[in-house]
């Protein structure tokens, strides 16, 4: 009796387990490994954002246009021709899109949005990003801003889309500061100018009376440090973009140049030339004290911090020809990292920390390239008569630089202009500027 009960109580669970076991279907039998794929831009549909009134409809078209242009320039997206759209977007934002209509034109992603003017006259903009195949909303945000500020909203939306699809931060809500050049080559006027990353909203920061060079953003994107010949000898200045206030960085004897902010924004690293010898100094903006980091009889210049602030890359001709070196932030442990033929200059550490971009001069032409911080993996991305001065987009995937063709014997032609290229080396674009432009610097993401 009790024996049987024991048997039953013991056996039943065991049997159950065994039954469940045998009944359980074998897990997915077939496994397939895919290790290669395509590298095509993603087809994305960005219809005009819906808007009630005429003004709103226009804003909706404009915003969608800027978002579309941003994404297209990245080389990772292929905005589809609006003429191919089947579904009218007017109704799109209120309900889920008709995904079949968008699949039909091979859109993999769809952006819908709307624009409303609010009671206080400000613009309310909303957008949603949809995965057409999965029929899911991927992300969606709303923003409110002044009417004039619509471009920034468009850039912020483009950044959100870029981030959601690629997993990386975007770089569209950024600005470029550069040297705007005008006039003949002999009497060139150079002014500091600032504009959106796509070339819009260009404005000048200096009047052109003094020659300016090498502008660089602070980590907050509110200040610029640059070289100016406003006084007798070239000096490093700070300029607050919003207030227009300028100040000299350190009253040093001799000439100072090639400034750059530290990642925390509290220091400026620069070169000082004394008696034909250039060394690297760090200037503390809070204590107003300078510390010398290198001590050579050569020309050490173009210093740039690593994003964590622990190391500095610079170029020096201490070994005979101009090459790249890396040292600790205190000047210790100097180590040469470039060993290729030719000269290397203007090193810039990627915001991601994984690469250093540089200008290389070899065989009579210039190149923009990247290498790892230990000097390995050198790769040239673009080449030209004169390409120089790379600056990184904040996500470390795109470089901007300036490019110039040869000028004729009278000094005409060959105006410099800005270009971008991504790390693949395939997606090269011109950046529109009102006139000739050189020495670009890319801001961090605004916001």
């Amino acid at each position: 009796m009790s024996k049987r009960r024991l048997l039953v109580t013991g056996a039943i669970p065991a049997l159950l387990v065994m039954l469940a076991w045998s009944g359980m279907p074998a897990r997915a039998a077939l496994r397939i490994d895919i290790t290669s794929g395509q590298s095509q831009p993603m087809p994305i549909a960005i219809p005009a954002f819906a808007g009630g009134g005429a003004g709103e409809a226009q804003a909706g078209r404009d915003i969608a246009g800027v978002v579309s242009a941003d994404l297209e320039r990245s080389g990772l997206f292929r905005p589809l021709d609006p003429r191919s759209f089947i579904q009218d977007v007017a109704a799109t934002d209120t309900a889920a899109p008709r995904f079949g209509d968008w699949r039909q034109i091979n859109a993999q992603a769809l952006v819908t949005g709307s624009v409303q003017t609010q009671g206080d006259g400000r613009l309310g903009v909303q957008f949603r990003l949809w995965d057409v195949d999965a029929e899911q909303q991927l992300t969606g945000f709303g923003y409110t801003t002044t009417q004039q500020n619509w471009r920034r909203i468009a850039h912020i939306i483009a950044d959100e889309i870029y981030k959601r699809i690629t997993g990386e931060e975007g770089y569209f809500d950024t600005r470029i500061v550069y040297v705007a050049e005008s006039g003949p080559a002999q009497t060139r006027t150079k002014r500091l100018a600032i504009m959106d990353q796509d070339g819009a909203n260009n404005r000048y920061l200096t009047d052109g009376r003094a020659l300016v060079l090498t502008p660089r953003f602070s980590p907050t994107a509110q200040e610029i440090t640059y070289l100016s010949y406003a006084s007798k000898s070239p000096r490093v200045y700070l300029l607050n973009i919003d207030t227009g206030q300028q100040e000299v960085v350190g009253e040093f004897p001799g000439m100072s140049f090639a400034p750059r902010f530290s990642p925390d924004g509290n220091r400026v690293i620069l070169s000082r030339a004394i008696n034909g010898v250039s060394n690297i100094y760090v200037y503390d903006l809070r204590t107003h004290s300078a510390t010398r980091l290198t001590d050579s009889e050569a020309i050490d210049t173009s210093p740039c911090y690593s994003p964590d602030g622990s190391r500095i890359v610079f170029n020096s001709d201490r070994g005979g020809s101009q090459q790249l070196y890396v040292m600790g932030a205190d000047g210790s442990g100097v180590r040469r990292i470039s060993f290729g033929s030719g000269k290397y200059g203007t090193p810039v550490w990627s915001p991601r920390g994984d690469l250093i971009a540089f200008t290389k001069i070899a065989g009579g032409s210039f190149s923009i390239g990247v290498m790892q911080p230990d000097g390995s993996g050198e790769r040239l991305l673009t080449q030209g008569f004169l390409v120089e001065g790379p600056t990184w987009a904040p996500n470390g995937r795109v470089l901007m630089y300036f490019s110039q063709g040869p000028s004729d014997s009278r000094g005409y032609g060959g105006s410099p202009h800005l270009q971008t290229i991504d790390l693949t080396g395939y997606n090269q674009r011109d950046v529109p500027t009102p006139g000739a432009a050189s020495d670009p610097a890319w801001s961090p993401l605004l916001r």
Binding site: L6, L7, G10, A14, V17, W21, M24, P25, R27, A28, A29, L30, I32, D33, I34, T35, S36, G37, Q38, S39, M42, L76, D93, T94, A95, A96, P97, R98, F99, G100, D101, Q104, Q108, R122, F127, R128, W130, D131, A134, E135, Q136, Q137, T139, G140, F141, G142, Y143, T144, T145, T146, N149, I156, R164, I165, T166, G167, E168, D242, L446, R447
Partner: protein, 330 residues
């Protein structure tokens, strides 16, 4: 040992409940012990095979065995059952019902929510838009989150105006993005459940043939007969096809070791019915998510609809796991 037994012996006396002979108790104990042992060993030896599916059958030896495949397979599962409902109607979407999801209808279609009723009411203008409320707006809890199946327009989060000096925007956008990312999870989980359910139903169609086999003839047919593995060339073919459909995410460049597993339920005609990201837990990582979604997208690429697989081996490929890893790319 014996001491313990001796100690214990007197104890049961006080209650003295049953006249259970010592022998029986011990035997019972032994029996129970043996059962537990079996159970234990089942788990120990069974588990590995449960969770680690057999390695890919890419060995060339499969080529030889292939010839036997069709013979041993007495019963063909696929000619039966025209499959529930036409499938993912990629083409002409005449009916406005924006939910062409192939899921067999019994699935949870509780309240025909928003998306299901196209010409329905004018659609509540927008979910509770939180008005500006500067810095830390409570991470929009009022998300209505209607039934997960149809993609409900999630409330658009409200973000402060980005002014000329726009510091706050970023903050808020970040917070909200984070909040949203977190909220994303339940939906994903629901999706997973749905997918599992769908897979079950997807498998059911071949249940009938099996029973027929049992009643008919050779009942001891293995589920996937030995000779019916995909040959190396067949595997190569499908790999090549999927490779052409997979658009590598840009972010994957930095994550060469980022492997994404997609579990795929395929219909007999080669159309993918479900493509599920296996590791849902990692979707919080934006890089993984981007990579996983790009991998899943491969199965919706027109080039991969349908997948070209040998129809006579449907049993083998109707449910497969595809590993995407960009390691060969850069």
């Amino acid at each position: 040992m014996s001491l313990a037994v001796a100690d214990r012996a007197p104890r049961p006396e006080p209650p003295l409940p049953e006249p259970m002979p010592d022998g029986v108790g011990r035997r019972g104990l032994a029996f129970s012990g043996a059962l537990h042992l079996i159970l234990g060993s089942l788990f120990i030896f069974g588990l590995p095979t449960l969770f680690h599916p057999p390695p890919p059958q890419e060995m060339p030896i499969a080529v030889q065995l292939v010839t036997m495949g069709p013979e041993t397979r007495a019963t063909h599962p696929n000619p039966n059952m025209p499959q529930p409902e036409a499938k993912p109607d990629v083409p002409i979407p005449a009916p406005p019902a924006p939910k062409p999801e192939p899921e067999p209808q019994p699935q949870p279609a509780p309240p025909p929510s928003a998306a299901a009723a196209p010409p329905a009411p004018p659609e509540p203008p927008q979910p509770p838009q939180q008005k500006p409320a500067p810095p830390p707006p409570p991470p929009p809890p009022p998300e209505p989150k209607p039934a997960p199946p149809p993609p409900p327009p999630k409330p658009v989060e409200k973000v402060e105006p980005p002014q000329a000096t726009p510091q706050p925007v970023q903050q808020i956008a970040r917070n909200e993005a984070k909040a949203q990312a977190k909220k994303y999870d339940p939906g994903q989980f629901d999706a997973l459940l749905r997918n599992l359910a769908a897979q079950d139903t997807a498998q059911s169609p071949d249940a009938p043939p099996k029973t027929r086999v049992a009643s008919g003839a050779a009942s001891s047919q293995p589920r996937a007969p030995l000779g019916s593995q995909l040959s190396a060339s067949e595997v190569d073919m499908i790999r090549e096809q999927i490779s052409r459909c997979w658009n590598i995410p840009a972010g994957a460049r930095d994550a060469k070791d980022l492997v994404v597993e997609i579990r795929v339920a395929v219909m007999p005609d080669g159309m993918v019915q479900q493509a599920t990201i296996v590791d849902q837990g990692r979707l919080a990582d934006p890089f993984f998510r981007a990579a996983a979604e790009s991998a899943r997208r491969a199965f919706f690429n027109p080039e991969c609809r349908p997948l070209r697989l040998p129809p006579d081996k449907y049993e083998i490929w109707k449910d497969m796991v595809v590993d995407f890893s960009p390691k060969d790319l850069l």
